[in-house]
């Protein structure tokens, strides 16, 4: 049987020991193989009902380590091919893993859809049919309720506005196609391109905000890098001390790292491997650096501490190489001592913002805080809780809408006839509608007649 492949977080999105991302459908194994990587083997080659250790990746980025459970049809919950990926139970890791799965060919499951499939495929007893229907009903009502309640008025307002702009353009096109002798389309492509130039950044921004707000709720995963003696631990102490922040120690469940959280205004940094930093005063300094470098691969933010009173060495070169294309702040420490490296030089070398601080004296911290906020768009979010697209579903819908609008742009570039634009424009309209729970229905026809004078 050929079914589309669905995925969802099966363990609930709250903080828990283990997170489970379930994938079900014909392509479940192929999808899992695009996300879950093992040494020298593939899930596709593994027998059913086996468990494997590996890493979860999205693009080149490692999200987490975890295990994959393979259950091939018909011996699974849904009687389809099922792969469950278990990762750490943090909401961010789970969401990232799900996102990676969705980008690899699965679509987000509807509420109750696993249960529905299980029943339709004969896995659930006939006597339970009514319970299944109740589950679907209840989960849908809950999803709808929670989904709508998650939307701030500003966000739904914004989406409504974008939708009405899109609908107007489609109606214009359709009216002109329907009554070409009445409404010419000369120069319309240029006009539509302008509209898209406005809409596309707006949606991208919503997606960025969604990402930022996810980071916010989790704390921004931050790694401090720097060669031995650059002043990492004094920076740590300074951050912790000066802020008089709430400091929590979370012992990692499987990994031997220690995390500490620093709250700044309205957001927090989750400092990873602080244990490693503290250890660098011991003999195994060198080891500490390379270990921190590994951690840095998964980080959202890298703080690179440079000792401005001495010349850069091999360690620095390695670190600078790693900073490429990442969100990072270079902290020029020991600004109280006579410098041998200048700020401009560092900026050119790293391509990252550089701030002069003295960890020992606590100077430059305000500038640092501002820069961090800037990097994650926190300023805006903090100010007017504008956009808090928190659910994966909303983000998926936004990404779909963005993709559709980009396809329209491409059609315009390819000089396709105007009627081709409406296909993807309507898709974008539909995707945005799903966020605020509105369907298309007769919207288009109504808009055509409302806004355009047609007919004999």
């Amino acid at each position: 049987m050929n079914t589309d492949t669905i995925a969802a977080i099966a363990s609930g999105l709250t903080q828990s020991g283990i997170g489970i991302i379930r994938i079900s459908g014909s392509d479940a194994v192929a999808v899992a193989d695009r996300v879950f990587f093992m040494k020298n083997k593939k899930i596709a080659d593994m027998p059913s009902h086996t468990i494997h250790y590996g890493s979860i990746r999205s693009g080149g980025e490692k999200i987490d380590e975890g295990i994959a459970l393979i259950m091939l049809a018909p011996h699974s919950y849904t009687a389809e091919n099922v792969v469950e990926i278990q990762c750490h139970g943090g909401p961010l890791v789970m969401r990232k893993t799900l996102q990676a799965v969705l980008q690899s060919g699965a679509r987000l499951a509807e509420p109750g859809e696993f249960t529905k499939r299980a029943f339709l495929n004969g896995r659930i007893d006939l006597s339970q049919a009514e319970a299944v229907m109740d589950v679907i009903r209840a989960q849908n009502d809950f999803a709808l309720h929670s989904s709508v309640s998650q939307l701030s008025g500003m966000l739904s307002e914004k989406i409504r506005k974008m939708r009405s702009e899109i609908l107007y353009e489609v109606a214009h096109l359709e009216a002109a196609l329907d009554d070409p002798e009445h409404l010419p389309l000369d120069g319309y492509s240029e006009h539509l391109a302008d509209v898209l130039h406005q809409l596309i950044p707006e949606i991208s921004e919503l997606i960025r905000h969604a990402e930022s707000s996810e980071k916010l709720s989790e704390g921004i995963r931050t790694v401090i890098l720097g060669r031995p003696n650059a002043g990492k631990s004094s920076l740590l102490n300074c951050l912790l001390g000066e802020e008089r922040a709430i400091v929590t120690d979370i012992a990692g469940t499987t990994r031997d790292t220690l995390e500490e959280s620093i709250r700044l205004d309205g957001f927090s940094l989750r400092l990873v491997d602080t244990a490693g930093i503290r250890k660098t005063n011991n003999i195994v300094e060198k080891m500490g650096v390379s270990r921190a470098m590994q951690q840095a691969e998964d980080a959202d933010l890298i703080l690179y501490v440079v000792d401005s009173s001495s010349h850069l060495d091999e360690n620095d070169k390695e670190i600078i190489h790693l900073l490429k294309g990442r969100k990072a702040i270079v902290l020029m420490n020991k600004s109280d001592l006579p410098p041998v490296i200048d700020r401009k030089q560092l900026m050119e070398l790293t391509g990252q913002p550089v701030i002069a601080i003295s960890a020992r004296e606590g100077t430059g911290m305000e500038e640092f805080r501002q820069k961090a906020a800037e990097l994650f768009d926190i300023g805006e979010i903090g100010k007017n809780d504008q956009i808090a697209v928190t659910s994966v579903r909303h983000r998926e819908a936004l990404a779909d809408a963005l993709h559709s609008l980009e396809l329209v742009e491409r059609s315009i570039d390819d000089q396709m006839p105007e009627d081709f634009y409406t296909i993807d424009l309507m898709d974008a309209y539909r995707s945005l509608g799903s966020i605020i729970g509105e369907e298309v229905g007769e919207d288009l026809i109504n808009e055509i007649f409302r806004k355009f004078c047609m007919g004999k």
């Binding site: 029943f119 229907m133 679907i136 329907d178 070409p180 006839p417 007769e442 004999k456």
Partner: protein, 636 residues
């Protein structure tokens, strides 16, 4: 003694729906009687003097591919022809032809009169006869009984119709023809819900009193494309008549505004719901107040007459206002009106009571088509007519009905919309209503539907063989251009340079070149040395199918998803109130519409995706129970 006769199929009304229905039934060997209130008005065009246009042209092509008459008839009788939207994509190219109205009507009458087993009868049908929810015949006003096995209602705008302008109203059908005043009551007695709809038509003026020098002449196409796939294109290249373009102005609008209180629409004398897509001129002036002028197309009614149709000036204002406003228009200053514009109100059925075969859900053997179903337009009527005719015949023959779905034809979209959506105004086809319009093109209507027409029995063997040949050569040629490659030979590079196209670095297929925006199948003939000689229509298909392949494939994938849902049938006797967990609104809507399948259910307003999930689980439960029961029986 009243007369009493028997036949297989009775068709009530000989307009565009009735003609197609009667022809289809008779051609499928049903003894058919076609009733009309006036034999002289068979296939009459009481409104616009043209056939086709955006999306309507698609319908005509589809009717033709199924074996209908409309396309052939307009090919015989048109006086101007135009392919609209030629600069746009192939999905929205639309053929429209101006008709000689009387020739159109006469020509159709001739076809009907020469169809074996088809009889014309001038009489008003007053009553539908039924027994136990089965139709048994009809009774005319004069008491004659015609017993039959299927009845097709094609009453157009004639049921209790009333024509209105200003203070004047007549209880007549269009063009002053006799209204059908009895049948509505009979329908109501059968429990059929009726709606009251409204439409209108503009004035006709005497062409001899028009000053064309103040208008812009509108010519037909240089190369005429026929509607019917059976018409030889060479035979329709003829001298054409022009239409003319002029505009209303602020003076026209002032006059209209000043007299709005005398419009029956605005004074509340008209209760019917009017269509938004052909608003009266007074509607346009009120609703689009910022527009300084509106287009008017002046179109000939035929070669037999000097009457000209004022397309764009539909109205129900009083006679004196009509005349005055016409005289404000450049070129019409001295125009003499022959017929006044009027609005017409009429009874039609709520088409939600039909299933997709166009048969009433609650009365077996009773079908309905055309404007009687709340649609508008000659083409929409004809499209329903042929389907109702086919299905009435198949019902009698004990065969499954022909139901086209939304991915197969505009006809499918039209009928599905009528039976699943709430209709508040006469329904008009539009290309934007078709989800898969890139697949439902007017150019490939034969590829989509000839097979079905042949299976049904309306396409002759000879026509079918010609079609198969065409289809195969399209396939072969598409295959050839996808597999033939060209390299960077001088001749090729020169050719690409000429068309401002990027030169080749390595070999590509011909198909890849066709897909380039600046090239197409015809253009690359120059560098395609092994191209076989092919007819024009085959070349056109190859070009479209290759050039837009990416989009076409995307839509085909959507269609696959769509068809999965359409394939999940719902038992016709399902009581939705028994389905636990369905919301009340869904239960009520589903019980009312009684969709044929899950796909149709999902399109009913008020039925949510969760309701559909619940329904799927319920149907599976039911199926398993029945299977278990059957298995148990076997064991006994």
């Amino acid at each position: 003694m009243n007369i009493r006769e028997t036949c297989d199929v009775v068709v009530i009304g000989a307009g565009h729906a009735g003609c197609e229905a009667a022809l289809a039934a008779a051609r499928l060997r049903m003894k058919t009687v076609l009733f009309t209130v006036s034999v002289d008005s068979i296939a009459m065009m009481p409104c616009n003097p043209n056939v086709g246009g955006s999306s309507k042209g698609h319908l005509v092509r589809e009717v033709d591919a199924l074996g209908g008459e409309m396309g052939k008839n307009i090919d015989r009788t048109f006086i101007q022809s135009k392919m609209l939207n030629q600069s746009k994509g192939p999905a929205v190219h639309s053929l429209r032809a101006q008709a000689d109205k009387q020739e159109y009507s006469r020509s159709m009458r001739k076809v009907i009169e020469h169809t074996e087993g088809l009889r014309i009868k001038q009489a008003e049908v007053a009553e539908i006869l039924t027994e136990n929810h089965h139709v048994t015949g009809v009774r005319t006003v004069s008491g004659g009984e015609y017993l039959c096995r299927a009845v097709i209602l094609c009453s157009g705008t004639y049921l209790k119709s009333r024509c209105i302008f200003g203070d004047v109203s007549y209880y007549t059908g269009p063009n002053g023809l006799q209204a059908a005043n009895h049948l509505s009551d009979s329908l109501k007695k059968l429990g059929i819900r009726l709606l009251r709809f409204k439409t209108g038509t503009p004035a006709r003026v005497d062409g001899r009193t028009i000053d064309y020098s103040k208008m812009v002449e509108q010519f037909g196409d240089k190369r005429i494309v026929p509607f019917s796939f059976t018409t030889d294109p060479e035979r329709v290249q003829k001298k054409q008549v022009s239409c003319w373009l002029t505009y209303t102005n602020e003076e026209t609008h002032r006059l209209i505004r000043e007299n709005l209180d005398r419009s029956p629409l605005y004074s509340g004398k008209i209760e019917g719901t009017g269509p938004r897509y052909c608003p009266s001129i007074e509607d346009k002036v009120v609703r689009f107040a910022d527009k300084k002028r509106h287009q008017l197309f002046i179109e000939p009614e035929g070669n037999y007459t000097t009457e000209m149709y004022l397309d764009g000036m539909s109205s129900s204002l009083p006679e004196d206002v009509q005349h005055a406003m016409i005289h404000t228009v450049p070129g019409l200053e001295h125009a003499e009106s022959v017929r006044n514009a009027y609005a017409i109100e009429y009874d039609c059925i709520d088409p939600n009571q039909l299933d997709s075969s166009l048969e009433f859900k609650k009365i077996s053997g009773f079908f309905s088509a055309g404007q009687a179903n709340g649609s508008s337009g000659y083409e929409e009527a004809a499209a329903q007519g042929i389907i109702a005719g086919i299905n009435a015949a198949r019902k009698i023959q004990g065969k499954e009905p022909v139901i086209l779905d939304r991915s197969q034809a505009y006809i499918g979209v039209l009928i599905d919309d009528l039976v699943t959506k709430e209709n508040h105004e006469p329904y008009r086809m539009m290309t934007s209503r078709a989800e898969y319009r890139l697949l439902l093109r007017q150019d490939n209507a034969d590829l989509r539907l000839t097979e079905i027409g042949h299976e049904v029995g309306l396409i002759s063997e000879e026509r079918y063989q010609r079609f198969v040949k065409k289809r195969d050569s399209i396939r072969r040629e598409c295959e050839r251009v996808k597999t033939s490659t060209v390299g960077g030979a001088d001749k090729v590079q020169q050719f690409l340079k000429k068309w401002n196209s990027t030169e080749l670095k390595s070999g590509v297929t011909l198909a890849e070149l066709i897909k380039r925006p600046e090239l197409d199948y015809q253009k690359i003939a120059e560098i395609d040395e092994k191209r076989p000689p092919l007819p024009e229509d085959v070349q056109e298909q190859v070009n479209i199918q290759i050039k837009y392949e990416g989009y076409i494939l995307r839509q085909m994938r959507q269609v696959e998803q769509f068809q999965k849902m359409e394939g999940k049938k719902i038992p016709s006797d399902l009581d939705y109130s028994e389905v636990k967990s369905l919301r009340n609104e869904a239960v009520q809507k589903l019980n009312q519409y009684r969709p044929l399948n899950i796909g149709q259910a999902s399109r009913i307003a008020g039925v949510s995706p969760a309701d559909i999930s619940v329904l799927l689980v319920y149907l599976e439960q039911k199926k398993r129970r029945e299977n278990a029961y059957a298995a148990g029986k076997e064991e006994e």
